[in-house]
Amino acid sequence: MSHVVLDLKASVKTFSRNKSTMFWTIAFPSVLMLLFGAIFSQSTMKYDLYVQNQDMANGNGTYWSQTLITVLNSTNAFNIQTVNASINATDYALTNRLSSLMIIPSGFNDTANMAIFTHGLTSANVTFVYDQSQSSSAIVQSIVTGIVDKMNFDLSNGVNYLKIEGFTIAPRRFSYIDFFLPGVIGMTAMTTSIFTAVSISARFKENGVFHKLATTPLKRYEWILSRTIYNVLISFLGMAVMILIGTLVFNLKIILDAVSVLMVAMASLMFTGVGMIIARFVKDPDGADAAANVITFPMMFLSGTFFPLSQMPSFLQGIAQVLPLTYVNEGLRATMIFGQSQQAIFNTALITALGIASIIIGSLITKWEED
């Protein structure tokens, strides 16, 4: 372990003395955040919510169904899209690749009245049809759940006999910067980890540092562990700076919990492994930078870092679903902005699994000694 600490200290010293690395790791994402924040801070971030109201009377929605839609609309979190009550909602969602669709069933108004009358012995249910492969569905669902819970609390006059307890997501306006902050944290973790892993590996291979290290008792796994910890620390540093800017400059309400911290650590682990795999196949440092750019640039733009996936053409949305940064961004958004850590658990678990796999593959194929 002392070798790991020794190498980690050397890496941190190198980082602190390298203005270029400091710029790209800290200053560049900060400038990006300040610029994008300043340009788009007035615009709100909305998700598409498809609603099929089957509870109609005389061609209009019943009182409670219409009230629910009005409340959802008033939050400014959604672009409400109405779906004709006569069509099969599930088929419609599948055909149109919707991430989520809310169905207000026939009789909803009567059941709601009964629930109020009986003080919760019955309940009025809405059905939520969603595509779990589309990460925004979890976010939409969590906001809708929060709003419905809030309505229940209001209706029950403060008496807490509903099953969802302490779930207090308040209808809140989400601005672009709310969307962008988790994205820029994910992007920083990706670029820092991939570029560091690729360029250090390629440079050390070319200029003989690996050769020299291989003549010492330092083991390869100790060096890889040191580099991974270093990348995680640098990603945390980037995260801290982004949160500081978001809080102080844009007055964001950021929720920092164990899931978001774990997500950043695992993202860094995963991208370090990806970087090591790339480094194995490049011949020199110039090629390493080019290869890292080829990987990171498309991922940066296609993974919902700068703009919501729902605003992209459907074929690009399909590509986004196979990019790991998409799951990092959406997971961080769910936990840091919407406070829905449980919605980010799948994403965190996925990134953890990918991280472990990539770091194992990267470690196995990274060579110091020649054949």
């Binding site: 050397a10 890496s11 003549t215 000694e369």
Partner: protein
């Protein structure tokens, strides 16, 4: 293996696909000696030294370093040897002192860091970052790093390649110091003057094979040309005067020079005395000693040139 043998190599072969980089070489390096592996780039020097450093696996053959088998005892070998690779590099933004401390930590050693820095004459640069050092200073730091674990055997792979003459002589001075300390030094070089200046014994490698291995003087004596005495701006009558002494001489009409092929039977002073007695004038004289370059040329038919390294 006996204690006074630091390295023993037996029928070592290394192939890269169809290319045979090292072709069945066998040799020994004695403890406490400076052994130079001399050959042109691409001869197989670096491949051999990297096999001995446990960085490459041989295709076949055996090698023992400090009594340890390179195929089984890599950890023991690494603990006891120091390595200066070609063009030593490390973390660019660590200072000289931090670099020595870093590598010392890798060996779990606490050497006299300031003493090592003083040894390689880098006291003025101890707080300078690595990327600010010249090539010569980097190599000197590399030697300090190679000594952090107080090794019994030091591998120096082309330690002066690419350095200017002043820096080269600085590194030679350090290697000479290691020799005097009693350390075994395994040196690879393609500079014949480096091998001549530093080595107790020289192994000449060509196309993966050792073509000669002996003490430097004996190699020159056995495989080199005879020493030559050149008399400038003299006359043809010098030739019979000199040949009467039992040595061969040639007169060059164009230059007016006489070249004398010296042998052990005649001293230069005898020739000069004979010329003086016959009033034979000459402008200046030049003594040309045979060198390892001549030995290499004689053995391989090629000169030591810059080719591709394997």
């Amino acid at each position: 293996m006996v204690d006074d043998v630091a390295i023993q190599v037996e029928e070592l072969i290394k192939r890269y696909h169809d290319v045979v980089a090292v072709n069945g070489i066998s040799f020994k390096v004695n403890s406490g000696e400076v052994f130079a592996f001399l050959g042109p780039n691409g001869a197989g020097k670096t491949t051999t030294v990297e096999i001995l450093e446990c960085l490459r696996k041989p295709t076949s053959g055996k090698a023992y370093v400090l009594g340890f088998d390179i195929s089984k005892d890599q950890r023991e070998i690494k603990k006891r040897t120091g390595v200066l690779p070609q063009n030593f590099n490390t973390y660019e933004r660590l200072t000289v002192k931090e670099t020595v401390q870093y590598f010392a930590g890798m060996f779990d050693k606490r050497p006299d860091v300031d003493g090592l820095i003083k040894l390689v004459d880098l006291e003025d640069k101890k707080n300078a970052q690595f990327h600010h050092l010249s090539g010569g200073l980097k190599q000197r730091l590399g030697i300090a790093v190679a000594l952090v674990n107080d090794p019994e055997l030091v591998f120096l792979d082309e330690p002066t390649s690419g350095l200017d003459p002043k820096a080269r002589h600085g590194v030679w001075h350090l290697i000479d110091g290691l020799h005097k300390e009693g350390k075994t030094v395994f040196l690879t070089t393609h500079y014949m003057e480096e091998a001549e200046a530093l080595a107790d014994r020289v192994g000449i490698i060509h196309n993966g094979k050792i073509v000669a291995l002996d003490a430097t003087d004996r190699l020159i004596s056995e495989y080199g040309k005879k020493n030559l005495l050149i008399l400038r701006q003299t006359t043809a009558k010098a030739v019979p005067t000199i040949e009467k002494l039992g040595v061969k001489a040639n007169f060059d009409k164009n230059s007016g020079d006489v070249t004398v092929h010296l042998n052990h039977a005649v001293a230069v002073s005898d020739i000069l005395h004979a010329l003086s007695n016959t009033d034979t004038p000459f402008g200046e004289l030049q003594l040309k000693r045979s060198s390892l370059e001549d030995v290499f040329l004689n053995l391989t038919g090629e000169s030591l040139g810059e080719e591709n390294e394997i």
